[in-house]
Symmetry: C2
Subunit: 192 residues, 2 copies
Amino acid sequence: MTAMRLFQEKGYESTSVADILKAAGANSGSLYHFFHTKQDLLLEVLRRYRDGIAPMLLEPAWRGIADPIARVFALLARYREALVASECSYGCPIGNLALELHEPDPPVRQAIATNFDGWVDAIERCYIDASARLPATTDRRALAVFTLSIMEGGVMQARTQRRIEDFDRSVAMLRDFVALLERQAKEQRGTT
Amino acid sequence: MTAMRLFQEKGYESTSVADILKAAGANSGSLYHFFHTKQDLLLEVLRRYRDGIAPMLLEPAWRGIADPIARVFALLARYREALVASECSYGCPIGNLALELHEPDPPVRQAIATNFDGWVDAIERCYIDASARLPATTDRRALAVFTLSIMEGGVMQARTQRRIEDFDRSVAMLRDFVALLERQAKEQRGTT
DNA sequence: AGCTTAGTTGAACGATCAATCAAGTCAAGA
DNA sequence: TCTTGACTTGATTGATCGTTCAACTAAGCT
């Protein structure tokens, strides 16, 4: 869908229906035949993002990578690549929408939340798969939510500073944290 | 300035000049006498936020708190309070602007970046003040950037999930990380 | 009193917005 | 061949947007 690309590039509010129609080479009537409102179109786009998390995001990022912790950082590396390739103007489309729409209609907010849930679920599974290497007391879900915070916050800073370093610094600290957790887990395993 | 409140509540694009005028009880001519464009008004708002970081944000958050690490979490607690008080609809106004404006004019981007810098500077100073308790190898600046990422990411998730837990989880993980760093620093001090 | 100037008023402008709709096309089924 | 219904066309609508401007007010200076 052309609308996906435009919402990503220019944001939802800044993309007019006319923009979408011109880019797609269609007329307004055709679009409104399938989507009753612009918001319906947005909901469809969000549905596609949700359905695309596994095949379009995780699968390419994790190809050839089996280690669950390495997978976490491989996913983060994808966002880094997108930032670098766009000279730090790329932004996570879901994160953009999350802050762009200040008081979104409930279905839209829910659709964005579902996208976040899908991302966090996938990362949580990584940490669960790596459970043996993490302290028993560490909440895997919290760690996954934390990881999403760092990704979104890192992208936000890199974008507004036009500087990849701020993303890298955030990820580097997460790496240090995970390394410390692994060390702690090893110690605890040794003493029981 | 009334515009500050409205930009915060509804976002920049969603706040029309007419909204501001009505809320302020003024006429368009008066506003445009002082600000040539709506964007000029935004720049003034961003200037006020920047000038307000110390007196309006840090000073109240840190009143009666001397410990530099405690100060970091006291500041994060302020954002938590704002979230709770607004039933998780509050958002950091700078973060909102950072993602709302997808291709902002250079002066606007710069003004947002300056606000981030001011925040990160303040937190970096905390970590520098706590230097004796942190490993020598840990980059204080990176830790401060990391902290901002977690705050912005945590606010973003709590807002879209309408759930304070996602903010709390992010902050809790940061707390664990800092505790591990302090423990690591203590060990290293002991072995040298 | 007269002049200057900072600030105010509010109607108006053109642009752009999401959305509509009557009229048309076209392929499949009866 | 005729009918039906899915889909397309594109001009048009009314609302709203940021911005402008000529006219006006009021305070300060000479």
